[in-house]
């Protein structure tokens, strides 16, 4: 039987979850050690399709600043982090930029856009 140990990061409490594969349970898994419903959701997601928000920077031109902070507008699969970084590191952004502007559309076909984390005025 598949058993996983995970620490929940939904809130600061940090419950230690034990997630077991269980064909008989309605969701396919049982979660123990959680103290709220969100912990159960997190536990199952963490063993079926773990996702995270990715933040990084891209090269910035036409500004006195050198880098633009970027963030995925939503979670992307954890296993795609390094692949995503490769794509992000090739991008060059040009000021002026508004916070929320799309920098990469549909990043690695995840359906999630990479957006600017702040506004940048143009240098001129």
């Amino acid at each position: 039987m598949d058993v996983y140990e995970k620490i929940c990061i939904v809130c600061p409490r940090g419950c230690r979850l034990t997630i077991k594969k269980d064909e008989k349970s309605p969701r396919g898994y049982t979660v123990e050690g959680n103290t709220c419903k969100r912990g159960e959701d997190y536990g199952i997601k963490e063993v079926t399709n773990p996702t995270r928000v990715l933040t990084s920077t891209v090269v910035l031109k036409n500004s006195s600043l050198k880098r633009l902070p970027v963030v995925t507008k939503g979670d992307i699969p954890k296993e795609k982090m390094f692949e995503a970084m490769k794509v992000i590191n090739k991008v060059v952004a040009y000021a002026p930029i508004n916070g929320g502007d799309i920098i990469i559309e549909n990043l690695l076909d995840t359906g999630v856009n990479l957006i600017a984390g702040r506004s940048i005025l143009s240098q001129n």
Partner: protein, 421 residues
């Protein structure tokens, strides 16, 4: 000499929130003095997410969180000066600052709000033996190099200290192609948030060694390696446990020091435990008319808490300017009891309280299934059960102000009691 109603020193999250709230409370003549070339403070380099869950009910990055406040401040027409260094303040609220446009200027303020934040403890603060090569950075400095300046600081990295910035930088460095060999923590627990241990270290298989420290730095021009050893319960390295890590970079995430050089110039009393000003219920320091908020008072783990504390400071400074703050009356002193390291505020003037008073504190150790007990004049006023308490996470107790008034409390003690299982 030109006189402002409120001058705020520091344009980071604390200063921004204090200014916005002071203006909303009817003070028109406000000035922020900021030494950097942009507003936003340290948030600008904190590109990771996790900010704003409390204030905005959504997860923002540091720059996104800052931008909301900067936009609000600008739309309110609040005056600010960038690239401006405050050189002195005094008890009469005279401020001397310098910048390229204005030169050296003296101004006066009815109220000052100190919002200078904190800086990182450097290598010298913990006296690591060994040579003095380059390649040793505080975690926040490395964060600035990578996220703002666009430089990779190194390829093979050891991180000393498991504070939040250290763990966040571990993940950042790995994503940018570096190898983080170890995060080393002298305490038996991490000083950072659990969520950061999971999503920064576990996610990237970065080992965390508790009860370990760096005992020697090697290398002449650039750091070449660090010797790590286990420590006993007196924090003394245990002979025979040494491990050598080859590295070109050592990051230090070993704590923050509130930046209070200006505060002491105005004779503001400093709490030896928090290293920040002693403050009262209105976030006013021991010097009348000088208020303080954010990390310069005590180091917070969540910016949302800084914002809430700074709203309070801005609101109360506005009341002071309008002559609405009461001096004297019933005064309560807060006292950190067993298991509590400190409490903010240290002084409560009951006359100035709204419906509730919020007490912020840190515990001294990790506790499971314990309770926080609030006593006034030795009578138990409130008990709160806690499944877990840890020094890395600030605790907040909200107390009904009536409890203090009705019982004529003079001393308020909070302590941790272990529960019988």
């Amino acid at each position: 000499m030109y006189e402002y109603d409120i001058v705020i020193i520091g344009g980071g999250p604390a200063g921004l929130a204090a200014a916005i709230e002071a203006k909303k409370n009817g003070v028109l003549n406000i000035l922020i003095l900021e030494r950097d070339n942009e507003l936003g403070g340290i948030l600008k380099q904190c590109i990771h997410n996790g900010f704003g869950l409390d204030i905005f009910k959504e997860e923002l990055t540091g720059p996104q969180y800052a931008e909301r406040f900067i936009n609000e401040l600008k739309s309110m027409g609040i005056e600010y000066k960038l690239d401006t260094m405050v050189l002195n303040i005094d008890e009469k609220r005279k401020i001397s600052y310098i910048n390229k446009q204005d030169g050296f200027v003296n101004i006066k303020a009815v109220a000052i709000i100190l919002a200078m934040g904190c800086r990182e403890r450097p290598r010298g603060a913990i006296s690591i033996p060994g040579t003095r090569p380059s390649g040793i950075f505080t975690a926040g400095t490395a964060q600035r190099f990578i996220n703002i300046e666009g430089y990779q600081v190194g390829k093979k990295v050891v991180i000393l200290g498991s504070g939040d910035i250290g763990m966040i930088m571990a993940r950042r460095l790995v994503l940018e192609g570096a190898e983080v060999k170890a995060v080393v923590e002298i305490m038996p627990y991490s000083s950072g948030l659990t969520r950061n241990i999971v999503q920064c270290l576990h996610d990237y298989d970065i080992p965390l060694y508790l009860n370990h420290t760096v005992i020697e730095i090697k290398g002449r021009d650039r750091i070449e390696g660090a010797v790590v050893a286990e420590v006993d319960k007196n924090k003394k390295p245990i002979s025979g446990t040494e491990t050598y890590y080859e590295c070109d970079t050592l990051l230090l995430s070993i704590g923050l020091i509130p930046e209070n050089e200006l505060s002491t110039k105005a004779n503001v009393e400093i709490d030896p435990v928090t290293n920040g000003p002693v403050v009262n219920e209105s976030m006013e320091t021991s010097v009348e008319g000088i208020f303080s908020c954010g990390n310069v008072v005590h180091v917070h783990d969540l910016v949302d808490n800084v914002t809430r504390e700074s709203y309070k400071a801005g609101r109360c400074a506005a009341r002071y300017v309008k002559g609405e703050l009461v001096c004297g009356g019933q005064v309560v002193k807060t006292k950190a009891g067993e298991g509590i390291r400190y409490i903010v505020p240290q002084v409560i003037r009951v006359e100035n309280l709204d419906e509730h008073i919020n007490l912020l504190m840190r515990v001294t150790d990790i506790y499971k299934n314990a309770k926080l007990v609030v006593k006034g004049n030795d009578i138990v006023l409130k008990e709160i059960n806690k499944m877990q308490l840890t020094p890395g996470e600030m605790e907040e107790i909200v107390l009904d102000s009536k409890l203090l008034k009705e019982n004529n409390i003079r001393e308020l003690t909070v302590s941790v009691e272990r529960q019988v299982e």
